[in-house]
């Protein structure tokens, strides 16, 4: 797993059970989320995606629903992050809270994701948005259960 140096880390809860981090990739940025299940890890990876754009608070003023599917969990992560990128782009919004459910075992049935995103329109003065994510990639793509039981979900995002 070509992680490189960890560049920003944010445990999402006091227990440290869930969280996210960025890792470097040339001109772009890697995102990694972790949590007790694939769904929680996916939520944290999406938060890491938002944190590429802004470090400021993102208020949960509006809710957007997305759904996607893929042959396996790895490709589902790419689909999920690309769905968030799409909603950010067409709605000109940022999202700071995510709720994900993942169903399916992979294989011939594939895996499906339902996600809810809470956020607000980009406020250029308050969010001071930096770089725009173009799309999630298959580079450094890995969704896996670690030996301690924790799930991680990571890939590089092209910016």
């Amino acid at each position: 797993m070509p992680t490189g140096r960890i560049e920003a880390t944010q445990p999402a809860d006091a227990s440290g059970e869930s969280g996210w981090e960025h890792f470097p990739h040339g001109a772009d940025i890697g995102v990694r989320g972790w949590g007790p299940s694939p769904a929680r890890a996916f939520e944290q990876a999406a938060l890491a995606l938002t944190r590429i754009v802004t470090a400021a608070e993102v208020r949960p003023e509006a809710e957007v629903a997305v759904a996607c599917e893929a042959p396996d969990l790895d490709l589902l992560l790419v689909e999920w992050l690309n769905a968030v990128v799409f909603e950010m782009a067409v709605r000109r919004m940022l999202f700071g809270r995510f709720a994900v459910t993942v169903e399916g075992e992979g294989g011939s049935g594939g895996v499906r994701l339902s996600g809810r995103l809470w956020g607000e329109p980009v406020d250029i003065a308050r969010h001071a948005p930096a770089v725009e994510p173009k799309g999630a990639t298959c580079t450094a793509l890995r969704v896996a259960r670690e030996p301690g039981g924790r799930w991680t979900a990571a890939c590089v995002v092209d910016v």
């Binding site: 470097p24 040339g26 067409v90 001071a128 948005p129 725009e132 990639t137 298959c138 793509l141 092209d158």
Partner: protein, 476 residues
């Protein structure tokens, strides 16, 4: 990268011998210092590209190469459809047809200095830049398809550009055989309000001054005079290109597996040129190319309008517009005979030498302008395609400086305000909605663009014509 891993052919040419599944060697053009600075992943990715079906000659690496997606950024590879050759979404990249245009103004730097602050503010207002910025143009479904089919020609027809620009754009400003009907509804939705926007990251609009001329004859032919001011724009196909890249990458991963293609890296996903997926990608990619060409034409028009407000007599002429994330059908001499090849350039610039029939008459004797963006503090270069580039790299050269450190490392080292103040003290005005964005693009975060273009020149890819220094920089 340790140079000892490579076979040194001369001071700026290195070779990775074909081993394992590699069908051809990999050839890297760079001096030893640049090779040492390159990530090991560049060699690995160039070697992986060399395994793809139908590759011709070699998998080439430009002096500014760095770790990319499947292909290295700064990678060039040509595929022969008659030999089972493939087209790869990763080999073109997410920002399809991202590129650079430079326009001459004939204005002396002193004239611009007198109005510099007001000009910077006006440009910042006229050029929507950064995340969340709103363009003034919204396309309905019919206009979207017309834009995707017509490229910069469409922009000119709409009044956002000048007809004389078109011959100074690759393919006359319009990629043939574009298929708007192969572009998904989601990609079109993402682009609906993005025409005439600059984007963010390393995209910029700069007012620059010609600070050094290396080749006076070529500079004259290009309209570049020492001390005169030019406008340079770097951007691409915005959300539409990103969405097409994303969708076809996914589709090609599945298609490659179904076709039994064993890929060393999923990101190398590709499809035979002659396949149904391959044809659909090419049609959609050419539509995205037209989107990028139209977008740069519109941004050029906005910049012209601002300059004419300050200088009513100014003649803003397009020197050239060239893309560096492309797959183009070109005829190249291979072992003494012409072959039609699909040339992928991922973070690499086409660099046709003198006499190439596709060049406009005014440039044909000199060669194609090769526009190299540096960082906002250090400047950019105009090169000209070298006669040897055809044999060296299917007529390709570098595209920029390449990053020396990650975005996060840059923000730890500098603040955006500090960069803006330091550059202002040196006479360079930066306008950006995002100070974090400025910090991420700090001049020190990039490699020495001078070393990159010198290596390109020594390798016979392209010759230096002029160096451009930044005066005003509009960043996303």
């Amino acid at each position: 990268m340790d140079p000892a891993r490579l076979t040194k052919l001369d001071e700026v040419t290195w070779r990775i011998e074909p081993t394992g599944a590699m069908r051809v060697p990999a050839i890297l053009y760079a001096d030893e210092a640049l090779i040492r600075d390159m990530d090991d992943k560049v060699a690995e990715q160039a070697s992986n590209v060399a395994t793809l079906p139908g590759i011709v000659g070699a998998s080439y690496v430009m002096p500014d190469a760095h770790w990319g997606y499947g292909f290295p950024i700064g990678g060039v590879a040509a595929f022969d459809p008659e030999q089972g050759g493939v087209v790869s979404a990763g080999g073109v990249g997410f920002d399809i047809s991202c590129g650079v245009r430079t326009m001459t103004t004939g204005l002396a730097r002193a004239e611009v200095e007198r109005v510099k602050d007001a000009l910077a503010d006006s440009l910042a207002r006229a050029i929507p830049a950064g995340v969340g910025s709103e363009g003034a143009i919204t396309l309905d479904a019919a206009a979207m398809d017309a834009m995707l089919a017509g490229g910069a020609r469409w922009a000119v027809e709409q009044g956002w550009g000048e007809a004389a620009d078109l011959e100074r754009i690759e393919e006359g400003g319009c990629a043939a055989e574009a298929r708007p009907d192969f572009v998904s509804a989601r990609a079109k939705e993402r682009q609906r309000r993005e025409m005439g926007t600059l984007g963010s990251g390393n995209h910029y609009l700069e007012i620059q001054a010609v600070e050094e001329v290396f080749d006076p004859a070529a500079a004259r032919a290009f309209g570049l005079a020492p001390g005169e001011v030019v406008v340079t724009i770097h951007c691409g196909s915005r959300g539409l290109g990103h969405q097409i890249g994303t969708e076809f990458l996914k589709e090609m991963v599945v298609a490659a597996e179904a076709a039994g293609l064993v890929l060393p890296d999923r990101e190398l996903a590709c499809a035979p040129i002659a396949s149904e997926v391959g044809r659909r990608y090419l049609g959609a990619m050419r539509a995205a190319t037209n989107c990028a060409l139209a977008n740069r034409e519109i941004l050029g028009h906005f910049a012209r309008r601002v300059l004419r407000h300050f200088f009513p007599q100014v003649e803003v002429r397009l020197l050239f517009d060239v893309s560096h994330n492309t797959c183009k059908v070109e005829t190249h001499q291979v072992e003494g005979r012409p072959r039609t090849l699909f040339v992928h350039r991922k973070g690499a610039t086409r660099a046709f030498g003198p006499g190439h029939p596709s060049l406009p008459a005014a440039l044909r004797a000199v060669g194609q302008p090769v526009l190299i963006g540096g960082s906002m503090g250090t400047g950019s270069y105009v090169l000209v395609g070298a006669p040897e580039s055809e044999a060296r790299s299917f007529a390709s050269a570098c595209h920029g400086a390449g990053r020396a450190m990650s975005r996060h490392a840059a923000t730890r080292q500098w603040s955006g305000r500090q960069i803006v103040d330091e550059l202002a003290a040196r006479g360079v005005l930066v306008r950006s909605p995002s100070m974090r964005g400025v910090a991420e693009e700090a001049p020190g975060a990039y490699k020495d663009v001078g070393a990159v273009v010198l290596a390109a020149e020594r390798a016979g890819l392209a010759r230096r014509v002029a160096r451009l220094g930044p005066v005003i920089c509009i960043k996303g």
